[in-house]
Symmetry: C3
Subunit: 345 residues, 3 copies
């Protein structure tokens, strides 16, 4: 069976995703031992499963015989059974049982197996060439790791827009002054601060710094008028971002508070994005509900509107007006465009 994406861009071209890259397919906690689940990633139907020994794996979700979704079948003892005609596959995608006729198993009776690494509480899969899948290239999110999984508070939303639009949104925090003014309380500070972006390898970092009133989210200092605030967003291909935030009272280095959180955008289709987010240890659980609300009802609504206004057109085809606050997002888009072009050669 052709293990290829089936959805297409509105303009008929296949969506171009970077294949040789680690993508978060799910939070590890979404997949308890002995369970399996379907998820569309980069337009491909994928089966995620975890056996009783807690080993996780990812294979194509479509049976090569008659194209049923394996996720609709039973998963037991590390084997998934096709619900239509009973072929069984192991966690590496190999057919291990053919209940028909003489039971012979053809060499090509297999589904694609995706390299999978569980790290920082997330399941990372590699849609590209398996021999190139080096776990060392997974971005370091170790600030998420805490002694106990019970302390984690990962968030997930399906965002109705392209993953690059969703990444742009994080790479330009100035939108908070307008889109999140009522909920997060910034009022021009981010837009007014010169945004400095830089490229390091294939990563991009952009930062903002300003003096003024403490922001709503910076609880210990929010009633103070004289706060130094610094934001930094680091982006790694194809859509892993860390937001770091520091606040401190003017002239009082001891008052320094640091926070960090991840915002990870994995394409589901060309127009929808799996959005994984979590804060570092401080205020992790308190933040989750606010984040879910803001990301869904403010960012999600905006990104869906932008996606609809773009219709089937590409970003550059829209001839966007570029502002100073776009520098990080534009750098990241250029990196990604270059990596995808290299891969398609």
């Amino acid at each position: 069976m052709k293990d290829q994406p089936s959805a297409k861009h509105a303009n008929g071209a296949a969506p171009a995703f970077l294949r040789n890259c680690w993508y978060v397919a799910a939070w590890g906690s979404e997949l308890p031992p002995g369970t399996h689940m379907k998820r569309i990633l980069l337009d491909r139907p994928i089966l995620l499963m975890r056996d009783e020994e807690e080993r996780a794996a990812a294979i194509g979700n479509v049976c090569p015989h008659r194209f049923a979704s394996l996720s609709a079948g039973r998963f037991q003892d590390g084997l998934v059974e096709c619900p239509y005609h009973g072929l069984r596959f192991d966690m590496a995608g190999r057919c291990v049982l053919n209940p028909h006729g003489d039971g012979r198993i053809a060499e090509r009776a297999r589904v694609h197996s995706y390299p999978l690494v569980e790290r920082h509480g997330a399941l990372w899969i590699w849609p590209g060439d398996a021999e190139a899948a080096d776990p060392a290239s997974i971005p370091d999110l170790s600030f998420l790791d805490t002694p106990s999984p019970a302390d984690r508070a990962p968030g997930y939303l399906l965002t109705p827009a392209n993953y690059q639009l969703a990444s742009d949104n994080i790479l330009d925090l100035s939108h908070s002054d307008f889109l999140h003014h009522a909920t997060l309380g910034t009022a021009g500070e981010l837009a007014g601060s010169p945004a400095k972006a830089r490229l390091h390898g294939d990563a991009v970092t952009i930062e903002w710094a300003f003096e003024g009133k403490g922001m709503v989210l910076q609880r210990p200092l929010r009633d103070h008028a004289d706060v130094h605030t610094r934001f930094e967003v680091s982006w790694y291909p194809a859509g892993v971002m860390i937001i770091r935030n520091e606040v401190q009272l003017a002239g009082d280095p001891a008052s320094l508070k640091k926070k960090a959180g991840v915002h990870i955008m994995t394409p589901e289709t060309a127009r929808t994005t799996h959005y994984f987010f979590e804060n570092g240890e401080a205020e992790r659980k308190q933040m989750l509900q606010l984040a879910l609300k803001v990301f869904e009802s403010e960012d999600g609504v905006m990104l869906e509107d932008v996606q609809a206004n773009m219709g089937g057109r590409g970003f550059w085809e829209m001839e966007p007006l570029v502002l100073s606050n776009d520098s990080g997002a534009i750098l990241a888009r250029r990196v990604l465009d270059r990596l995808i072009r290299q891969e398609m050669r």
Copy 2:
């Protein structure tokens, strides 16, 4: 940003609309002072707004920076603020505030401004070349003008079919004998009367005349058996129509009653139409509820069915059977086809 329509015909071709023409975008009463609204016109997202001094204007609704809908932002003092990153635009579509970095405003930081004229209680916009926008070419609907806006009773419906199908429907009133038999009461009189159509300039007029029982809608004479009835429909590109109706008792010129109403079809997309309608002074308000009911549940349902049966095919591609009652509609289609072809050269 490309200020172009995004929707396409089912067959992949861009829908061809006449650009250099005045279109009703809204009734003036839909847009109170200090408000703004979005409307799709000829497949383009457009922002209509009216400031506190009652001046109305129309500009593109998509921010050239990151493609948010301006209609989702605040409108105050004649300025609309983009809800995503805070750019502000005046009523001519010029960016007047960039809250980012050094605040410089690029020359191309603007959205398309549409010539707009408010006349006969309607907001007319011109999607074509601004220098060709001559308000003298707006059809004369002055019979709608009354001393006080409080006397007006304009109607609006979104019709789920192409605007030319909706115009055809008005240009062939004989459908009333069948589609509206139960509600309007004609029973073959219009179909039986020879329909005479003529071309005058780029306008088309078609008329029907018959003797018989007074129609339901002609209240003063409806119980009489011996009534002379005359209908006349005048069409102006791209879809402005006036229906004029005269009834009089046979041999009694003093019994003559005249009515008139407008039926205006503005394309929203290739398959949906903004339908604006209103009667002249007589019985204006009494008629509105009946009209809304009939146009939505009888004409609207029929036109949606016709549109569905056509699929993505064009009218001529359907090789329609032409009857005598089609003469006005066919003349109008030929005028419009010619005007659109001229414009596309």
Copy 3:
């Protein structure tokens, strides 16, 4: 008017159906005397009607004048009236009344008339060339015929998948062991039995035979451990199938029980199928409710999933893994592919 299908394959190509073939359009009992109904068949809107003398007929459902659905108009005395402008058509699709102007009826004022035969309780129509429509090629389903129509218990479902996928499902009964294990009770017997398929003319027959426990549906023998079971499926183009089942106790020829049922797949569109089914006389009515439930909630759900996983791709384009149990379905697909290719030459 072009009497052509309007829907397209996802990949833009028109779906290829075999035209010169009898298709079941409806059960006869769906169309009482004096009624008419619309049905989409092979992507074409078709009007089925039966006059008071019980004669049934099928014509195109789209008025050639302005493309209204004739099914929305009145049907009386064997004439259907277009609900939009009142043209009347007889059961052969000829316009017999034009209420407009001088009432002249053009030669081309007609809709396509489909050869129709009522046989075995079903209305069979022929979408191809009328002169080739020989009722002798209707498969013999006379085992359905019983003395009284009151004894019939025909079933109908709209299946959300291509008709060939629906036929494949019947042509490979081994899926029962997995998909219907809980409802029908087979547990590997069909998959384990070698499936023998053979071609006879343009028909295909495949059979299974095994010894073991009596199946749930074989009520008289279901509690016995030593049962010989035989299944046979015969397929006739484009999608008429008969399932025959025989059971008997080992060494007891007198215990032989036979059952038979029809499973008829008529394409509605490329992705939806009219599924007509009925059992022969034995246990006919008792079986109907179980069949409706199983076919809708088990087969229908599975076929919809398979269709979705195929996206817009064709069956062979999916490069299916072929198993021994596929032999009947593959033979039938090859016959149909050949017949369609011959027709398109």
